[in-house]
Structures are given as C-alpha cells and as structure tokens.
C-alpha cells in the first residue's frame, strides 16, 4: 500500500498494463512531456515514443486511428485532454468505435480506452469544464467509467485497458491531486460494480466522480438525514443490484451529479428506480447553464453538500 495521488494512480495503472502487455499503448498531444496534467509522467522515457505517442492536434484522427489500431488487435489508450475536445472526435467514438464490432458482425472488437477528463476545476469556463458522461451511456457498444478515488483510478483504469469493449473513461480534473492508498498488486476492478461507501438508513444517494466526495460531506453534515452513499464507479453497465438493494432498504433514492440535471444520467437511474421499485426519487444536477468563468457565477453550477442534504430532507419529508 502506498499513498499516492489520483493522478499518480493513473500513471501507475498505465505503466503496469504496458509492462504486462506490449500491445497496450497511448496516444495524444504532449504525452512525451507527461500530458497536459502530467498524468503520463515519464512513461515515454520508459516505453519509447512508439508506445507513448505524441500526436498533432488532430482529435478526429487520434480517436479514429485508435479505432483502426484497436481493430488490428492493439489496445490504444486515447488521451483527449479535456472531455470538451472529445467533441471534435464524436463520429470516431460513436459511429466508428462503438459500432464497428456490431456492423461488421463481430469480425473485430475495438478495445480502446478513451480518457475524457471531465468537470469543473478552476475558472476554466464553458469549453473546459463540461461533464457529458450521460451522452455515452446512450450509445450501444460503449462502456462508461468514472472513478472517484486514487485506488479506483488505479483499479478501474487497468480494468478498462483489459476490457475488449471501447471504454469512455472519465477522470475528474479536480481530483488529480487527491491522495489515497493504492495497492499496486491489487487485481483490476470489475467493471459494473458500485460500492457502498457509507451505510445509512434514510436515503440512498447514488453518485460518481467528484460528487462522491460532496455526498460524503453531506452525509457528515450536522442535521443531515442518514445517507447511504453509493459510488456508482461505472455508469454503463451500472450496478442495478447494489443500487436497488439499497433503495429498497431506504425507500428513497437521490441521484446527484455534477453534469447538467436535464438529460443527465440521474434521469436514467431515477426513472428506473421509480419504474421498477416505486421508491421515492429525486435528482440533483447542475442547472441548464454553460459554466461561467467568474467564480460567483461558476459556483452556480456546483452541487454542494448542503444541496444534497436539503434534497435528502425533502425526500424524507
């Protein structure tokens, strides 16, 4: 066990997978100098420029080349820098990566991992702060992951790299520095398993990525109802058994996420729970506004611990 950061955990995971399998490689801009956040560390020195591949600013081709390379049996890890820039590569991700296996009748799989760092960080405004994870849950063929801790960023990234499906992998920019214990020899995670981080009786709170920490904070607030906090970890497939088990116990389900509430993945979970279980549901997400630069306006798009506690109280009350 070592205490390392969420960022270092990802470097470690990639290093281990690259050591294990010579067909794992990564491509993206500035990777040779560690990548925009430093998450590629010194991997280029270690593995050479063919496996830690510095690319031009060509998002369509970064993603598209990964599709071709994955179909030819390698395992590319695609770095998109900011999930916002992945919007320059949507045909490649959705029309190609997600569908190739199906369209071609199973002749090839597309084992790529697309890293799309999401979330608000600091004063980064509307084009560098988005969280669009719900989009990818809507696309058949894609697996969708969003780790919240260093240990999970280690265990889930390794699982994503070993997965034979295209995985959209969301790191949160505001978590890079978060420290935690990571067992380097742990097995990779199983994709699709949620984790109950804190037991509670009154309200089940389902969340993922950075909002996990906000929910834990809410649970610890004086006067908060007793919250059972579930870190979903994987959005597709999502762990219906764990979520439903908890919601049935508490009878109340709150889904909270940083992404915009309208059309967010909270709708999927809340609707399923309402439909299948008939429990009381509620959703929290950002208002339907772009993210502003100035802090007071930017903060309007943040989900706070107080908001989570208040929503939980409404469910109780």
């Amino acid at each position: 066990m070592n205490t390392i950061s969420y960022l270092e955990a990802s470097t470690l995971a990639l290093r281990q997978e690259m050591e294990r399998d010579p067909l794992v490689w990564a491509l993206g801009e500035d990777l040779g100098r560690g990548g925009v956040f430093g998450q590629y560390g010194d991997l280029q020195r270690r593995f050479g420029p063919a496996r830690i591949c510095d690319t031009p600013i060509s998002e369509s081709t970064i993603m598209g080349a990964a599709v071709g390379a994955a179909m030819m049996g390698t395992r590319p890890v695609v770095e998109m820098r900011f999930s916002d820039f992945a919007l320059c590569a949507v045909d490649e991700l959705v029309n190609q990566a997600a569908k190739a296996r199906f369209m071609f009748g199973g002749q090839a799989k597309v084992p790529l991992v697309a890293r799309l760092p999401i979330g608000m960080w600091r004063s980064s405004a509307a084009q560098h702060s988005q969280s669009l994870e719900s989009w990818w849950t809507h696309i058949p063929g894609l697996v969708v992951v969003a780790p919240s801790t260093p240990a999970d960023n280690h265990a889930l990234l390794r699982a994503a790299i070993r997965c034979d499906d295209p995985v959209v992998y969301h790191e949160h920019k505001d978590l890079w520095g978060l420290k935690g214990e990571v067992d380097e020899r742990a097995e990779p995670a199983r994709l699709g398993e949620a984790r109950i981080l804190r037991p509670g009786n009154d309200v089940t709170v389902v969340t993922w990525s950075k909002t996990v920490h906000v929910a834990l904070e809410a649970a610890a607030l004086a006067g908060s109802p007793s919250l059972e906090v579930i870190d979903l970890r994987t959005l597709w497939p999502w762990d219906r058994a764990t979520v439903f088990g908890s919601a049935q116990r508490t009878g109340r389900l709150l889904v909270a996420h940083e992404a915009v509430r309208v059309g967010g993945f909270g709708g999927e979970i809340a609707a399923e729970a309402a439909e299948q279980l008939g429990v009381k549901v509620r959703r929290l997400g950002a208002p339907r506004i772009p993210i502003a630069y100035a802090k007071p306006m930017e903060d309007q798009a943040r989900i706070t611990a107080a908001a989570i506690a208040a929503a939980a109280r409404l469910l109780l009350g």
Binding site: A65, V67, G68
Partner: protein
C-alpha cells in the same frame, strides 16, 4: 488511350479481366436486387471504377489490410472476398460477411484483410493510419491501402490522416478514386485549388496521378508504390481519375448530368478497354468471353446462394454489441 503495359505478364492482365468482370456482374446483380427489394438500403455501385480496385489490390497480400468507403464492393471483391458471403450480406443473411448486420454500406471481410466499408465519408482515413500504426507495433511488415473518393478530400480527416501517416512514416497507400462527383454535386465545384494530388503533396506525401480506367497502368504504378511502402519509404498517394457511370446510388437516376456525357464516358469503360488491349496482345476473343462468363456464373451462383440462405434470428441483433454490459433480448 490505354498505354502499352510495361507488362508483368499476360496472365496478370487476364486475372484483372476476370476480377473486373466479377465486380461488374456483382454490382449489376446488386442493382437489380436493390430495385426489386431483395437488397435494401442505399447501394453504391462502382461500375466504371473497377480498374482501380483490381489494379491496386492485385499488389497486396492477404495480410495487407484495406479500408474502404461507402462504395466498397469492388475493393472487397478485388481483395479476395467470397462473392457468396458478400451477396448474402447484401441480402441480410446470416451467412453474410457481417451476418447481415452491415449490408452493402458496411461490407467487410477481415479474413482477407478488408477492414470495412464505411457510411461516413472520409472516416476510413484515420482508421487506415491507425491500422498501419498497429501493424508496426505488432512487428508486422504489412502495408495498408485506403480507398476514398474525391468528395472526401474536403473533410477534415483527410488532412489529419495524411499528416499523421507522414509524420509517423506509415506504410499507407492512399487511393483517391476521383470519379468527378460527390453525390449529385460535381466535386470540382466545391474543391478549391489544384485538387487531391497537390493537397497530399502539401502534406509531404508524394502524389501520383493515373488514368483510373487503365488497369495495366494502375497495377504497374501501385506495384511501384507498394514496393516503396514495403521498403519503408513512407506513405504514397495515388490519384486515379475515373468516372462514376451509374448514379450515386442504385436508386439515383442522376438527372443532374447529360445522357451524352455518360454515353461518352461509357466509351472509356475500363473493362472494354482491357478487353481491347488483350485482343491487341493476341488473346482470343473466345477466351475472354469464357472468362467473363465464368465471372458472371460465379455471381449468379452467389445470388442463388444468398437468396436461399436463412436470415439470422432476430435475437442476433443483441449479439456483437459488447462484452461488458451487453444488452439482453
């Protein structure tokens, strides 16, 4: 005029003749079947462009991948796919190359290195360069051929993908089949500057213009270029000027061009040209007719096979989606 081939051998030309007839027959059957509903969706015919597929693919090994666009039957046949499985795909049968999931626009046969047609213009270009990169990582010395149209040179991935092949020195042969049209639009009217070849050159890739209806010349040039690829000389660009004798799809009457223009272009039919060349080289007309008949027969057999082949069960729609989080019927 067809150039005197700097002949490799006569047998090779006869093989082209056979393959081009096979493509032609396949597409005529596909056209008919699309009109009467046996084949659905949009069917893009490469009639008039067969020389490019035949000339290029005859220089590739089975393990050399190709990537195609929406107009992919010819490339697929020339790369060695079975007409039976191809026609079954067009008819949506389980025995199709894609089990009936793709149809004409997504025809693919990975066994013979055919990595897929594509419904999105220019989308194959990044896929092709990535395939080449993967082959290098795997230590294979294969080369990749990437087919696209003159309309594709106006999409961003053209620039990105060619630049990519150049900076990593990837063994990719880019083949631009310039048939004059992008759907109903004359490509010249929406393409600035001197055209595809100079665009490739500006990205550092040597470009070679060729009469796209002259299979002997294409074969020869492609042979030289593929040899350069195998010798690590980096990507090459082949600009083949040809003509789309049919409409954009089998359903397109192509009223945006004069009948006279099309008629004139039929005079330049690459199959007729090859036939004339072979006769000139002393091959007996009877031998050529036999080859053409054989090709036609193979396709008729493929149609018969496909028509009697079963559909995949409806639940097969739930297969081949993904391993993790796979859908349930």
């Amino acid at each position: 005029m067809t150039q005197r081939p700097n002949l490799r051998d006569l047998e090779r030309l006869k093989r082209h003749f056979h393959i081009m007839h096979r493509i032609r027959a396949f597409e005529e059957e596909a056209e008919r079947a699309n009109r009467d509903g046996r084949v659905g969706g949009a069917v893009h015919l490469s009639i008039g462009q067969e020389a490019v597929a035949a000339g290029v693919c005859s220089n590739l090994r089975r393990e050399d991948p190709i990537v195609s666009n929406h107009r992919g039957h010819g490339h697929t046949i020339a790369k060695g796919a079975e007409p039976r499985a191809m026609m079954a795909e067009l008819m949506g049968r389980a025995a199709g190359t894609c089990g009936g999931k793709g149809g004409s626009m997504h025809i693919a046969d990975f066994k013979v290195g055919m990595l897929g047609a594509n419904g999105v213009v220019a989308a194959g270009i990044p896929i092709a360069v990535g395939a080449a990169q993967a082959l290098r990582l795997r230590g294979a010395d294969a080369v990749v051929a990437c087919f696209f149209g003159d309309g594709a040179v106006n999409r961003g991935p053209f620039l990105e993908g060619l630049n990519w092949a150049r900076i990593y020195d990837l063994p990719v042969l880019f083949v631009c089949e310039d048939n004059g049209f992008a759907s109903t639009t004359r490509t010249k009217s929406v393409t600035g500057g001197p055209g595809p070849g100079p665009r490739a050159e500006s990205l550092g890739i040597p470009a070679h213009e060729v009469d796209g209806n002259d299979v002997a010349r294409i074969d020869e040039l492609a042979g030289e270029l593929v040899a350069r690829l195998r010798n690590g000389k980096g990507p090459q660009f082949l600009w083949a000027k040809t003509y789309r004798l049919k409409g954009h799809t089998a359903a397109d009457p192509a009223r945006y061009r004069e009948a006279a223009e099309v008629e004139a272009r039929w005079q330049d039919d690459p199959i007729a040209r090859l036939r004339a060349l072979l006769i000139e080289l002393g091959v007996a007309a009877g031998e050529l007719d036999a080859l053409a008949r054989a090709a036609r027969g193979e396709i008729e057999d493929a149609v018969a096979f496909a028509q009697s082949a079963p559909f995949a069960p409806a639940e097969a729609a739930f297969g081949d989606v993904q391993d993790v989080g796979a859908p349930q019927p």
